[in-house]
Symmetry: C2
Subunit: 210 residues, 2 copies
């Protein structure tokens, strides 16, 4: 005999995912106010009513999408920075795994940053749980420890983290503009990204070496 559940909610999941994907595309491109519920429904191949059936209000839907985006980014970041690796190893992993991740989701950082600018205090309160903050404290402590044992040169740990993230995120974030400024094709830009991935670790090794 089969499950005693009244109905299989398989189609459920499927449509919900379809709706969320469409919503993500729309919100990322046009923002909360710019995205149109009808467009989202159309792109998902469903009626507008479905959106309100699964996510009561537009804001609810938006919050779901934004929270997902924040979680995605920080999960990946935590996976690397919260490991047992040495600082330089983490930098190496960051330049490869994290940039690869961002390259696969080039829209995520801008989306999150854009929302964080609307109301920084609210963003921090609603979307930056203590877990994400702890992410940095442990890494900072590790850097200080390696500095104490003389493994790396003394630097400002906060600054180091900011610079690491700058190098990873900005080249992806600003690809459309930089591609224009540098006057290169998308392929050439991708090649440069690969090169950044390869050379970034050595870059920081020089920085942290005595």
């Amino acid at each position: 005999m089969q499950r005693t559940k009244k109905k299989m909610p398989e189609i459920n999941r499927d449509t919900e995912v379809k709706l969320m994907n469409a919503a993500q595309n729309a919100f990322i491109k046009y923002g909360l106010e710019g995205a149109r519920m009808q467009d989202i429904a159309d792109e998902a191949g469903m009626s507008k009513s479905m959106l309100h059936y699964y996510f009561s209000k537009k804001e609810k839907l938006f919050e779901t999408i934004l929270r997902q985006a924040v979680t995605d980014i920080f999960s990946k970041l935590r996976q690397i920075l919260d490991s047992d690796d040495a600082v330089l190893t983490k930098i190496h992993r960051l330049s490869h795994e994290f940039i690869d991740f961002l390259h696969g989701h080039p829209y995520l950082p801008l989306f999150v940053l854009h929302e964080s600018h609307k109301d920084p205090a609210a963003f921090q309160r609603e979307f930056m749980p203590a877990r994400e903050v702890a992410l940095s404290t442990r890494f900072i402590a590790q850097v200080e420890e390696e500095m104490r044992t003389g493994k790396i040169r003394p630097v400002n740990p906060h600054m180091l983290l900011v610079q690491m993230l700058s190098m990873c995120v900005f080249p992806i974030l600003s690809q459309p503009v930089l591609q224009g400024v540098l006057n290169v094709t998308e392929d050439e830009y991708k090649k440069m990204l690969k090169q950044i991935q390869r050379e970034m670790p050595a870059f920081f090794e020089r920085m942290l070496a005595w």
Copy 2:
């Protein structure tokens, strides 16, 4: 006798500036679709009709604001990168003058990047005139020249430029998020920015030294 002009257009200028400032704030925060004409008019202390009197349509107004933003950023950038200074001097100036500039207009980069993502091709076509592209080619040539004469170590010039910009722009761009991640106050973050300004040149000197 006074000017023979029929009327002084001084009030003109003034209201136009007020409208544009209000429009800039609104567009930066909410984007083209999210900004409300009524809000812009209210913030400028004028009627909505004024907006249509000075800028016929919302899109026209938006394009004006965006073009201004792009021009502002690239003017500052050109002022530094198009000078007669050596590469390392330019890096030094970038870390001071350009970051100061961005710190005074922390919203500009995100605004431009956001629009560039909506339609990269259109953005490049409409808002990146040849003049802005030439900005990089000359700097690239200069880097190659200094490499040839052995003044600096061989590196990929494109990559160098991207890294310089990353270090300048990203810390400002992502302040709301990073302040949360690092769990520091605005003052502490500002202090860190100052430190980045001071240390960035040495950072690149190490990178470019033999």
